[in-house]
């Protein structure tokens, strides 16, 4: 006798479908850019109709925001992002910059959406606000940990340095998207981290 209620089964299935759609969308957008990457090609990739897909994500905008959340979830699986080991966290951020360079379409999506979503009325505003607050706080904790161990370069203030690190990573993405040959994002990020700490980075 199974106790699993119908509703729950359908929820689990729906959640599985959402995940499938998001992974397909990540691929499609990463390869073709998010502007060219159509809902239809995402629907095709999961063997659905466009209308069926829209049942799960009411608009391309909603899908785009969910894709970025999914990307964050993937990153959390790959990395520990544990501020208790500040050096390790910075290394993970540099690796993330490396990884991002392999998915230009998603970086493009992130840049454009984060800029649009700075407006308080934007549907993804809350998502980005939380994301930035959390990310800056995480990096700040990591830098404070380094500071406590005496590993921060003189004059480096964790709160400022955390905001600057996030700003640098965002800003490098723009310049890299403009002209990919002109910038090596991960190298610049590592170089910057190297200037923040007193140990070999």
């Amino acid at each position: 006798m199974t106790e699993t209620p119908v509703v729950r089964g359908s929820y689990a299935k729906s959640s599985h479908t959402r995940t499938m759609i998001l992974d397909a969308a990540l691929n499609v957008f990463a390869q073709n850019g998010y502007r060219k990457g159509s809902l239809k090609s995402v629907a095709d990739a999961v063997g659905m109709s466009e209308a069926g897909l829209l049942h799960h994500f009411p608009s391309k905008g909603a899908l785009l925001a969910a894709v970025l959340e999914r990307r964050d979830a993937h990153a959390r699986e790959r990395f520990s992002f544990d501020p208790a080991d500040g050096l390790q966290l910075l290394r993970e951020f540099a690796e993330l910059a490396d990884y991002n360079a392999s998915t230009p379409g998603v970086v493009e999506l992130f840049c454009a959406l984060s800029a649009e979503a700075t407006a308080p009325g934007h549907p993804a505003h809350a998502y980005f606000l939380t994301r930035y607050t959390d990310t800056v706080a995480l990096v700040r904790l990591a830098l404070e940990e380094l500071d406590q161990r005496g590993l921060l370069a003189p004059g480096i203030e964790p709160a400022n340095a955390a905001r600057v690190i996030i700003a640098l990573m965002d800003g490098l993405q723009i310049q890299w998207l403009m002209d990919r040959d002109s910038v090596d994002m991960a190298r610049e990020v590592r170089e910057h981290f190297d200037s923040l700490v007193t140990v070999e980075f």
Partner: protein
């Protein structure tokens, strides 16, 4: 850029057309700065200069063309604040802090710039060339600025002018995103100043909030 040659010859008044363009651009900058690019309408711009919409479109046939002209105008204003291609490295670096402080007084323009630079990374975007050139120019001149500081012994050890230029631009762009998301979360000029002090030993100003 919009070609106004035919307009000039038809009216036979270059100065008049030039004045009209200038008023339209001022109004457009104000409208985009208040409402952002998407909500800022050509109609509202036309209304502010007392023109019809078709009359305005005669000078700037498209919203994107108008936008590009507005950005160029904004650059001219920034340039007046920070003449990055000058020979006084200390003045240029301090000018960047002034610019960040000034930008905090024009959030709509910053928003416009932020959204557009992100959109325009796509080579098909009408403002792509404009932004690509702008980044090249800024990076080149900022590199030269850091080289001037290097030769006067004002750079911290290990700082390389080309990379300092790249990262300074990135930090300024990135701070704008964080500031636009939550203006109470940071002071762009103060954050930039702290960042620049990791690159140079020069005494740095705190940024004059309104330099006009």
């Amino acid at each position: 850029m919009v070609d106004t040659t035919s307009e000039k010859s038809r009216r036979g008044s270059y100065a008049k057309s030039k004045n009209t363009r200038a008023s339209i651009l001022d109004a457009a900058l104000a409208v985009f700065a208040e409402a952002g690019y998407h909500k800022g309408s050509i109609r509202e711009v036309a209304k502010r200069v007392g023109m019809s919409e078709p009359g305005l479109l005669h000078h700037f046939p498209s919203k994107s063309g108008l936008l590009e002209a507005v950005l160029t105008l904004r650059d001219d204003k920034s340039y007046a604040l920070v003449p990055l291609d000058g020979d006084d490295g200390a003045a240029s670096i301090n000018g960047l802090i002034d610019l960040a402080a000034h930008n905090a007084s024009i959030p709509g323009v910053v928003e416009l710039f932020c959204i557009l630079s992100a959109e325009a990374t796509s080579t098909e975007h009408p403002a792509h060339e404009y932004f690509a050139n702008r980044y090249r120019w800024t990076r080149e001149n900022l590199r030269r600025t850091f080289e001037l500081l290097e030769s006067s012994g004002d750079l911290r050890p290990g700082v390389r002018p080309d990379r300092a230029a790249l990262s300074t631009i990135a930090v300024m762009d990135g701070l704008q995103v964080q500031w636009l998301l939550d203006r109470s979360s940071l002071d762009m000029a103060a954050e930039l100043r702290a960042f620049l002090s990791t690159l140079t030993t020069l005494p740095l100003g705190t940024g004059r909030p309104e330099t006009r």
